[in-house]
């Protein structure tokens, strides 16, 4: 069927005007298949019909028509529709039976009024308006979600929340222990990097010992919690959004609702709790790994003994520094879980919507994390802790 353009007979159309240009005959010949070369695009034929005196009658017929597929009826429909708009009478009796049938079928159900979406771009102002309204809707969704999450939390405190401990255990496993390997790697490397960055400056003054201060404080107060949060938002936050989004696509969330089980309690609560429980532990572990990374560099390359490094770290890092780091990781956990679960619960009903939800979950949580981190750091700085 799909002949090469070379050996396909070209699909031809000729216009003949008879009887004082009152009647125009359109004759179709040759191959009208997807691979064929057409002599004239439909626009050219319409333009030709339009020039000079407009005909009153159009006769469509075929002569020596070889193979044809959807290309012919599409072409014909273009002409027929034009004729109808221009008030030209169309005679299709010269067409093969099959073509006539298809033309009739294609126009048998009239277009429903108001269903066609306009393809032309809206004016800039309308686009801006839409964008603002979309933003408002998003904000409303966020407020709504937070409200529901708080209600679920209250139900939990009253011991009335309904979720399965198996799910909770699974979420904890997913959010915590499963992430250990990647957290180890990243925190170790970040500790290493911090040590190198500090070492370049400090060794100029022979003050290599202060690398321990820099790495210790930097990791415990800042990088441990931050890097863990970034890892977890990409790992667990995205997974939450994708899981809940898929459940939404599959009507599983509807099924829960109609069963009388609140999806907020049953699905969102265990996930949030798991993250809130696991994040501080992961951050603590990341702190340790970061310090180990720093020690590796300092001890091996900058002439500081392990004991000196250890003692300097102990002197520099206080308990309240850990407190700040852990506090941050708690805040980050809530932010990641909120972004992930919210995007999943509000996911649309298509495969691409699930992808969008996962992307949005990660992007949102990283933005929230960085903003929250700067705010907390600023506050701590002002308070002098």
């Amino acid at each position: 069927m799909n002949a090469n353009a070379g050996d396909a007979k070209a699909g031809g159309v000729s216009l003949v005007r008879i009887g004082g240009a009152d009647t125009v005959t359109l004759q179709f010949t040759g191959d009208w298949v997807h691979g064929a070369v057409l002599a004239k695009p439909v626009g050219a034929v319409l333009a030709e019909l339009d020039t000079g005196q407009k005909p009153r009658r159009a006769l469509l017929q075929t002569h020596d028509l070889a193979e044809w597929d959807s290309r012919l009826p599409t072409y014909l429909l273009g002409i027929v529709d034009w004729c109808q708009r221009e008030g030209v009478e169309v005679d299709v009796s010269g067409l093969p039976e099959g073509v006539r049938g298809l033309l009739k079928l294609a126009r048998s159900v009239p277009e429903r009024s108001g269903v066609r979406r306009s393809a032309e771009g809206a004016p800039l102002l309308a686009e801006v308006g839409k964008w603002v309204l979309g933003g408002l809707k998003d904000t409303k969704g966020l407020v709504y979600f937070i409200g529901e999450a708080i209600l679920a939390g209250v139900a939990l405190l009253r011991g009335k929340a309904r979720f399965r401990s198996v799910d909770m255990a699974l979420c904890i496993q997913e959010a915590g222990p499963s992430a250990l390997a990647i957290v180890t790697l990243i925190s170790l490397l970040v500790g290493l990097i911090l040590a190198f960055v500090g070492a370049v400056q400090l060794s100029m003054f022979g003050a290599q010992i202060y690398i321990a201060d820099l790495v210790g404080l930097g990791t415990v107060r800042e990088m441990g919690a931050l890097m863990t949060a970034v890892i977890i938002s990409g790992r667990t936050g995205a997974a939450y959004a994708a899981q809940l989004g898929t459940m939404n696509v599959n009507s599983e969330i509807d099924a829960l609702k109609t069963m009388g089980i609140s999806p907020m309690e049953f699905l969102v609560l265990p996930r949030m709790l798991a993250l809130v429980l696991m994040m501080p532990l992961l951050a603590l572990y990341a702190d340790l790994m970061g310090i180990v990374g720093g020690a590796l560099v300092t001890v091996s390359a900058f002439d500081v003994s392990l004991v000196q490094y250890y003692n300097e770290t102990r002197r520099a890092v206080h308990l309240h520094d850990f407190g700040i780091g852990l506090g941050k990781s708690l805040v980050f956990a809530v932010l990641i879980a909120t972004a992930g679960c919210m995007r999943g619960m509000q996911c649309g009903r298509s495969a691409s919507a699930v992808g969008d939800a996962a992307t949005a979950a990660v992007v949102n949580s990283i933005v929230y994390i960085v903003v929250a981190d700067s705010l907390i750091t600023l506050i701590c700085n002002r308070l002098g802790i």
Partner: protein
């Protein structure tokens, strides 16, 4: 019923009696599924009330609504089984959440319900491991887990082969006859409509309202509305009441 400003259906009023097999029918896009969402509590209608006995469903508070929802079961078009749980866990979920039954007793009920829908032995399969028709039947087993007073079906025979569809119809009638379950079915499957329905509402997309309510067989025999006759006879209708739209080209 509307999405935003786009009205789908207006002025609907009908009653489903206890023990009815009630059919919600109409052409595609007329709002059958949306009406179902209003009935099962997934979407609040823009205007109007849904009564369960004396409870005004959408004005009741959440706890009361949940109580009503627990008395009903829903079979979704896709089955909507929880994909991370096995069939047995799926069916056990409502039992474990809402009853005080022991583990072994729940297992007994699960096996019994699966056997009812012809899936005995599939307890430990995951939804992704069984066919679409089986998922649907498992979904029915889950919907029936708590012996609901009302069962809602969203296009139960869509995607089923004719024999399975027939078996499902038989099962529906059986449930009604033995347990007295009230059944509400959204469908446009004519064979099912006549085989099981004893009451119905007919929604129309063009006039955006209901055209009739009553026993579908009676509607076919007595209705004068060409749209209903056309629908109930697959468009073959009586020549005098039904004139096909003239094709333009």
């Amino acid at each position: 019923m509307a999405y935003g400003d786009f009205v789908i259906q207006r002025d609907l009023s009908f009653t489903v009696s206890r023990g009815d097999v009630f059919i919600i029918m109409g052409g595609s896009g007329c709002g059958k599924s949306t009406l179902l969402k209003h009935l099962i509590g997934l979407q609040k209608p823009v205007k109007g009330e849904v009564f369960y006995d004396a409870t005004d469903f959408w004005r009741a508070d959440l706890e009361e609504r949940v109580l009503v929802m627990r008395r009903s079961g829903v079979l979704y078009q896709s089955g909507a089984l929880f994909s991370s749980l096995t069939l047995s866990e799926n069916i056990a979920l409502p039992l474990a959440e809402f009853t005080r039954l022991g583990r072994s007793e729940i297992q007994g009920i699960v096996s019994y319900k699966l056997a009812l829908v012809g899936l005995a032995g599939f307890e430990d399969y995951y939804p992704a491991e069984i066919s679409g028709g089986m998922q649907k039947r498992a979904g029915l087993a889950r919907a029936m887990a708590l012996d609901p007073e009302i069962l809602f079906f969203d296009e139960p025979s869509a995607g089923l082969d004719p024999v399975s569809a027939r078996l499902l119809d038989d099962l529906i009638i059986n449930l009604r006859d033995t347990l007295g379950t009230t059944i509400v079915v959204v469908t446009h499957e004519l064979a099912s409509i006549f085989a099981i329905g004893n009451n119905s509402v007919f929604l129309d997309a063009d006039s955006k309202t209901m055209l009739a309510t009553g026993d579908p067989k009676q509607l076919l025999a007595e209705s004068a509305d060409p749209k209903i006759i056309q629908f109930l006879t697959r468009g073959e209708g009586n020549a005098d009441t039904h004139t096909p739209k003239e094709a333009k080209p």
